[in-house]
């Protein structure tokens, strides 16, 4: 019997007053997979992820995460998931170790000192542990946020633009760490991004969103073949601008 989906999203709608941010989105994510949620600004990626996390209540439709209805049953599963987003920060005055200690206690992590040591080693943070988080560079802060998101060794990891504002070298390093974590832990990862190279490198499946709707949903290889393109960036541009318009422009 196949394992139940890690995430089930069914006819999800979010309307803010007169603005429809998410418009009837449905998809499932299988356990242990890494799925990219691709879309331009305002496509509805962050709102969709926030509804999956239970931070935003849907206007209609339903979200089930690890078998729990969100946001109503969120406390059943929050211990088993975590997230990273550019819309939240770690407290800047606290040192890296203090921040990880606080979040480790919130997630009831056993043998917390050892877990912090492990993460610091894996994410190259050992020398930064006793420095205030606010005094770190953007790349170092991202690694700290990543350490926070991995503190409870989550089964489900939700990442919203995990490499935004990083230089290519650091971004590549972060992607490699995420990939190895996913393989070792057999964790499910849902990654929202508008970085095509990132999605192409990491994701087994890509969901492309535009104006709150799913425009396409397939593996990167099949998307490239279907659109007759060499890169996901070109596919994304086709979708963003409308395929017909793109063909006309090419002609």
């Amino acid at each position: 019997m196949p394992a139940p989906p890690a995430i089930e999203v069914e006819r999800l709608v979010k309307i803010y007053k007169t603005v429809t941010a998410v418009d009837g989105v449905s998809f499932t994510v299988t356990p242990g997979s890494i799925t990219g949620l691709l879309g331009g600004n305002g496509a509805g990626k962050t709102t969709t992820i926030a509804m999956i996390m239970g931070l935003i209540a849907p206007t209609s439709g339903r979200v089930r995460v690890l078998g729990a209805e969100m946001p109503r049953q969120r406390y059943r599963v929050l211990q088993r998931m975590n997230f990273e987003s550019p819309y939240v920060d770690m407290p800047m005055r606290l040192t890296v170790r203090q921040n990880l200690t606080v979040f480790g206690m919130l997630y009831d992590v056993a043998d917390l000192a050892e877990r912090i040591r492990q993460l610091a080693e894996q994410l190259d943070l050992t020398d930064l542990l006793d420095r205030p988080t606010g005094r770190l560079s953007a790349g170092q802060k991202t690694r700290v946020s990543l350490a926070k998101s991995l503190i409870n060794a989550p089964e489900l990891l939700l990442l919203d633009e995990p490499t935004a504002s990083l230089d290519p070298d650091t971004a590549d390093w972060v992607r490699a760490r995420l990939d190895s974590y996913r393989r070792e832990r057999r964790a499910t990862v849902l990654l929202a991004s508008h970085n095509m190279a990132e999605v192409e490198r990491l994701c087994e499946r890509v969901i492309i969103m535009k104006r709150g709707r799913i425009e396409d949903d397939d593996t990167p290889v099949r998307l490239l073949a279907r659109y007759g393109r060499l890169t996901l960036e070109e596919v994304f541009l086709d979708v963003a601008r409308g395929r017909g318009e793109q063909s006309e422009a090419a002609q």
Binding site: Y16, N82, Y87, V88, P91, R93, M105
Partner: protein, 273 residues
């Protein structure tokens, strides 16, 4: 049925301790935050202390009522600083853009509120204990001389400050930092109505029922009875406690409703105004 550990009403002391540790690290790391805790209570106590000293030399009534002004200032500070201590710890999360991390963690609302309440007492004690000692040194007013009555006053004032702090935190959660000013100013609405510096009978008759609907009014009346008539009136404290139970329940209910509304409106992901 949802197991207890998976329900919204689960209560894990380790998570409360995590939040208290977070605020303690913050306080420890910032000397301006520590100075601020002591600065305003000291300035206020000294100003009012000298005023009382001047009046005592010129009016017979106040000579008998020694300490009422300083006592009122110190008790008002417990009420005001208690609420502010609660609200500032909460606002620290908004300023740090950390609310999303907390709301996405297994931390329950009651655990969060408990941590904020404990930290408000810690912050208050850091600020008020030195000031009470200065009051004794400069003006010979011994707040601790109020004895057990002080415990009753303290509990009632803290309960009111928490109730207001919890409700204001809900408003900030729902409306963003645009509602931050409420945290700084809302308690001043209580100042004239709770009759901090004068008896309730000073108010117009039509306003007096409103004053008696506020728990701190009973505390300040009780304090004046103790200092002027040397009589402790337990029924005032019991009435205040009953009203505080209503205020506290209303504050928590309001917070939970505003949190629900924040989830509907997407405010938990917003950090600005």
């Amino acid at each position: 049925m949802i197991p207890r550990t998976e329900s919204a009403f689960d209560f894990q002391p380790r998570r409360v301790a995590a939040m208290m540790l977070r605020y303690w690290y913050l306080l420890r790391s910032s000397w301006p935050r520590l100075i601020e805790l002591i600065y305003w209570p000291t300035v206020q106590m000294i100003t009012w202390g000298f005023l009382q000293y001047y009046i005592m030399q010129n009016a017979g009534f106040f000579a008998r009522a020694g300490g009422t002004l300083i006592g009122a200032v110190l008790l008002w500070d417990i009420l005001f600083r208690g609420q502010l201590g609660f609200s500032i710890s909460f606002l620290e999360e908004m300023w740090a853009r950390n609310m999303g991390n907390l709301m996405m963690s297994p931390l329950r609302p009651f655990e969060f509120i408990t941590a904020l309440m404990v930290m408000s007492v810690v912050r208050l004690l850091i600020g008020v204990i030195p000031v009470t000692l200065l009051a004794l040194l400069f003006f010979g007013f011994n707040l601790y001389g109020l004895g057990l009555a002080l415990v009753a006053f303290f509990i009632n004032l803290m309960l009111t400050s928490w109730a207001v702090g919890i409700f204001v935190s809900g408003l900030v959660l729902r409306n963003g930092l645009g509602a931050e000013n409420l945290a700084w100013s809302i308690m001043f609405l209580f100042m004239p109505l709770t009759c901090v510096y004068y008896p309730v009978t000073t108010l117009p008759v039509w306003l007096q029922p409103l004053a008696w609907a506020l728990p701190p009014t009973y505390v300040f009346e009780g304090m004046r009875a103790l200092l002027i008539e040397q009589a402790f009136r337990p029924h005032l404290m019991i009435d205040a406690l009953a009203l505080n139970a209503v205020f506290f329940a209303a504050g928590v209910f309001g917070f939970l409703k505003l949190l629900q509304s924040a989830r509907r409106h997407g405010s938990l992901m917003q950090t600005g105004e």
